[in-house]
Symmetry: C2
Subunit: 627 residues, 2 copies
Amino acid sequence: MNATDKNLNKFLNETAEVDAGATQPFAKSRKIYVEGSRPDIRVPFREISLSDTPSAFGAEKNPPVVVYDTSGPYTDPDINIDIRNGLPALRAGWIAERNDTEQLDGPTSDFGKQRKEDPKLAEMRFNLTRTPLRAKPGMNVSQMHYARRGIITPEMEYIAIRENQRRENMSELLQTQHAGQHFGASIPQVITPEFVRDEVARGRAIIPANINHPEIEPMIIGRNFLVKINANIGNSALGSSISEEVEKMVWGTRWGGDTVMDLSTGKNIHETREWIIRNSPVPIGTVPIYQALEKVDGKAEDLTWEIFRDTLIEQAEQGVDYFTIHAGVRLAYIPMTAKRMTGIVSRGGSIMAKWCLAHHKESFLYEHFEDICQIMKQYDVSFSLGDGLRPGSIYDANDEAQFAELKTLGELTQIAWKHDVQCMIEGPGHVPMHLIKENMDLQLEHCGEAPFYTLGPLTTDIAPGYDHITSGIGAAMIGWYGCAMLCYVTPKEHLGLPDKEDVRVGIITYKIAAHAADLAKGHPGAQIRDNALSKARFEFRWEDQFNLGLDPEKAKEFHDETLPQEGAKQAHFCSMCGPHFCSMKITQDVRDYADKLGLDEKEALSKGMQEKAIEFVKKGSEVYQKV
Amino acid sequence: MNATDKNLNKFLNETAEVDAGATQPFAKSRKIYVEGSRPDIRVPFREISLSDTPSAFGAEKNPPVVVYDTSGPYTDPDINIDIRNGLPALRAGWIAERNDTEQLDGPTSDFGKQRKEDPKLAEMRFNLTRTPLRAKPGMNVSQMHYARRGIITPEMEYIAIRENQRRENMSELLQTQHAGQHFGASIPQVITPEFVRDEVARGRAIIPANINHPEIEPMIIGRNFLVKINANIGNSALGSSISEEVEKMVWGTRWGGDTVMDLSTGKNIHETREWIIRNSPVPIGTVPIYQALEKVDGKAEDLTWEIFRDTLIEQAEQGVDYFTIHAGVRLAYIPMTAKRMTGIVSRGGSIMAKWCLAHHKESFLYEHFEDICQIMKQYDVSFSLGDGLRPGSIYDANDEAQFAELKTLGELTQIAWKHDVQCMIEGPGHVPMHLIKENMDLQLEHCGEAPFYTLGPLTTDIAPGYDHITSGIGAAMIGWYGCAMLCYVTPKEHLGLPDKEDVRVGIITYKIAAHAADLAKGHPGAQIRDNALSKARFEFRWEDQFNLGLDPEKAKEFHDETLPQEGAKQAHFCSMCGPHFCSMKITQDVRDYADKLGLDEKEALSKGMQEKAIEFVKKGSEVYQKV
C-alpha cells in the first residue's frame, strides 16, 4: 500500500467516525427544504432560529432568518453521509426525463479508459456504479439550449426558489432596504423560473450543471442574481493528498463556497477529481490544460489538440461543470506583455504562450474553438473563458495585452452562444480601485453581458500575507459594478498553499465582498440578515448576533476571550466598553427616561424639531418607539 | 503597592530589558533622516535595501526603497529609549522661537492640580520635569493661524519632506504610475512647504500638534496628502493596565498608525494619558467627554460645562493633539433617531443625548462652542468634530439624523475657522457601498472641505469577527473619494477588546485601505512600493518580497509554512504551484526561448501585431526586454 492509499483509507475511516467539525450544523441552525412544483424539487436553506427580545427592549418574538445554504447534505443530520458512495444523484431523474442523453458503456476518452483499466489504481478509485452520459447524436443538452427553446427546466425552478431566500416570514421592517444602485438590468422583487430561463437564454447568466454531475444542488451565476463566490482547492507537486482535497471541498462549501475549482496539478489528478465530484453539492470547475500538460510531462511545446481534446472528454464524462479555457491568448498578443512588470502570471496563459512561441502558430485552443463547443454541448459543460493575460501587478493593470485578449473572449462568446453553450468570462487580477469599473464596463461591452468572474482584483501589491483583504476590497467593488462571481483569494496567496484555516478566512472574506455587493445593488431581501443581526446587537442578544454572522464560531470565540462567562452573553453591555460607557445601554436609558416624561414635557421637547420629529411625537408616546 | 503599580513597574523592567519585538527594526530596514533647511529638521524614513536581480533575470542592482515611517525613535538603534524619560522634545525649540507661549507654573485645571498633588499617585506618575505651555494672552498658537499669516513653520517644512517620500533614488520605471482619479484639488508632483501652508490656511488639511506635545514627528491630515490611519487604544473598566496601553501605542505606530486615540475609560485616565503622550511620536487624540463622565461617576445628567471645560484644559496641558467633541448632537436631532435600528451608537453621542433630554436643553457643547475654540487655540489642539449620530447599522445609514448633524458640524467648522482653530470632521460608521460617496460629497459640501475622518465605514453588518474587513472595504473606497484619515477597526469590533495581534491586523488592514486609496488617487510616488515588490516577486527575490510588504514577518511566516528551507527562498518557483506549474517560471522560459530565435523568426512573429508590439520588435532583440 503506497502513501496515497494509506491517506485515503485514513480519510475514509476518519470521515465515517468523526469529521464533525466540517459537517455539524451551526448552533441554532437547521436545514429546511422548500418544495417546488413537484416533489423532487426540494430546495435547501439554513434556518437560524432567534431568541425573544428581552423585556427591557419590548419583549417580542423574532422570526427565524432563512439564508442561502451551499453546504449540501453534509449539514443535514437526517442524511447519512458516506463519501465512499458519494451524494444522492438528485438531478438524475430530471436529466433522464429529457430523453436526450445516452448511457455510454464507459469512459470514451483514451485517458479515462486507461485509468479505469489500470489495476494499480483500484484501491484509490472511487467506486462509481454508473457509466457516463452523453447527448444523443445531434442533441444539445445545455441549459442554455433548453432556455432558448422556451423550456423551464427543474434546475431553473430550483434556482428561482433558491434565489428568493424565503422572505415570506420576515416582518415588514426586516424587508426594508436602501434602494441600491444596480448597473445592470433591474433585479425583480421576486425571481421567477421564467426570469431565470430568460436570463440564461440571453447569456446573461449560466447554470453550470454537467449531466454527469447529477449530485449538484443547482445554482446560477449572473449579475441579476446573488453574487457568488468560488473557492479553489487542488494539490500540487508539493503538498496535499486526495483526502485533504475532498475535505477542503466539504469545508469550503460549509463556509459558503458556491462553486469549487479543482486546480490539482500533482499525481492522480483523475482519481482525485472523481472523489471530489461525487461528493460535491456544488458545481466543480477545472483548468483542463493543467492535466493535459501533465500528460506531456510538463513540456508545453509537446501539447497537441488531440491530447487536449481527450482531456476535455475525460473530464466532461467525470462531471466537471465548467472548464477554464485560455483560448484568448493569441500569438499576436504575447509580445504585448514584453514591457510588463510581471509578464504572464496565469498558469494557463503562460503554458499557451509558450506553445504559441515554440510552434510559431496560432493557439490550438483558438483554432479549435468550435470543436470545443461541440464537446461542451454534449455534456453541458460551461465555458469559463480564461484571462491568460490578466495583470499580475498594479503596474500591468488594464494594459493593451489584457484588453486585446478581452475582445477576443468576446468573439469567442459569440461562437459559444451560436452553439447554445453557456459561457462566462474570467477577469483580473491586480487592478487599482479607479481602474476596476473600466474592467467591468469593457467586459459587458465586448462580451455581450456574459457573466464576469474575477479573481479579486487585488487593489495593491504591497501586502503579501493579507491578499484576501487587498483583493476583497476589489472584489466587493467589482461585485457591485456587476461581476457575477468572485474567485476567492486566501491569506497565503503568493506565499504558499492554503490550509483549512486559510480557506475559511478566504471564503468568509469573499462572502463579505459578495454580500456587500448584493446590498449595494439593492438585491431583494439581502438586507434582512443585516437587519436581524443589528437588531440582535442592539438588544444584546449575543448568541443571536453570533449565529446570524457569517462565522458564528469565530464571533463566539472572540467574545468569550474578553467575557467568557455564560452570564455575560445575557449582559446588557458590550465587552468593548464595559457597563459604564456602553452607548447602547445609554441609548436604552434615554428611551427609559423619555418614557417617564409627562406629555407637556414631550411637547416642549418637540419645539424646534424637524418635520419628521414632530410627526413622531404626534404619533407616539415614546422617544424610542419599538420598531 | 497596588496592582497598577505592580503592572507599571513590571512594564518598566520589561521595557528596559526586552520588548524587542515591538522596537527592533524590520529585516533589511534602517532608519534614515533627511535634513531640511536647518539642522534641527530631520525627517525620518525607513529605507528597505534590496538584493540584486539574479543573473537569470538580467543581473541588475535594485535601489533601496524609502518608505514613510511612523514608528518614531523606537526603531532607531542609535537612540536609547527609556520610557521613564519619554521621547526627545524635538519641537521644543521651534515652539520656543515663535515667542508666543508662556511657561505655566503647573497645570491650571482643577483636576490637573489635584492629581499632581495626590501623594498616592506618586509611584505611577510620569516624572515630567517641565511645566505646561500656553499661548501668551491674546495669542493664537495654531498652525492654521501661522499658515493664514503666511508663515511656513518648521512643522510644515518637515511635513513637505515627509510626504515626498524621497523619490530621487528611484529608477524611472519605478516612478511610472497610472494617472489616478482624484476627486479633490490636484496633488502636486512635489509637495512644497508652501503647498502645506496653503492647504492648512484654507482648512483643507490639519497638523495636529499641541504645543505641549513637542515629542511628535509632525504629520498632516488632508485629502491632497497621503491617506492616514488612526489606531485606537485605551483601557476600560474591564481590562488592561497603563503599561499595556503604552505598549499598544508603540506597537500601533510600529505597524503604521499615523495617530493614536486614547479612549481610556477606566481608572487613572489622567496618569495613563501622560505616559502615552510622553512616549508617543505620533499625535494623540482623545474624547474628553469620557473623562468628564468619569468625574461625575457616570451620570450623564450631572455633566456641566465647567467640568467639561476643566477637562479640556487638563488634557490640553498634557499635550493631547486633537479632541473629539460631539457638539453636533443637538436636542432637536435626538428624536430623529427614534425609528433607527440601532439608535445612537456613538458613546459620546449617547452621553450628550442623555444630557440634553434630561435637562431639556440644547447641548452645552454646542452652546459653548466659541468658548471651546478659545481653549483650543491657546494650545493648538485640533477639533475632530464627532459624529455622535453616526449610523450603527446598514439600516440606519445616511439618514436624517446623520445628515442633520453633519450640517451642524459644517456650521461649527466655520466658527472654528473664524478662530483659526484647526478642524476635521468625523464620519460613519455602517454604510452600504453605494451610499459611501454621498457621505464624502455632503461632507465636502457642508464642511467647506475640512478633512474627513471616518470609522470604516462597514459595508455590511453580518460578519462579526471580521469587521476589519467589512470596514476595510468601505475605508478604501472613502479614502479614494477623498477621506483624509481612516480610523481602524479590529477583528474584535462589536465583540471584545483587541489584543496586540488584533491591533496589528487592524492596522495592516487599514494601511492596505489607505495605500489602495493613494494608488487610486494617483498620489505621486505611491506606486513605487508596489512596483518594487512586484518586480521582486517576478524575479523570485523572496526576501525582498517579504521586506517590501506591510507585514514582513507574517509574509515570511506564511511562506515558511510551505517551504521552510532557506534554499527555497532562492528557488525559482512559487510554493503555490510547485516547480512544474509556475507561470513565472514558464514566462521566463518564454523569454529565454525568444532569445534564441533568429532575426527572421522574430519578424515572422511580429506579423499581425499591434503598433506597440511592432515598435517593441523594432527596438529590441528580446521578447522580454529587461525593463
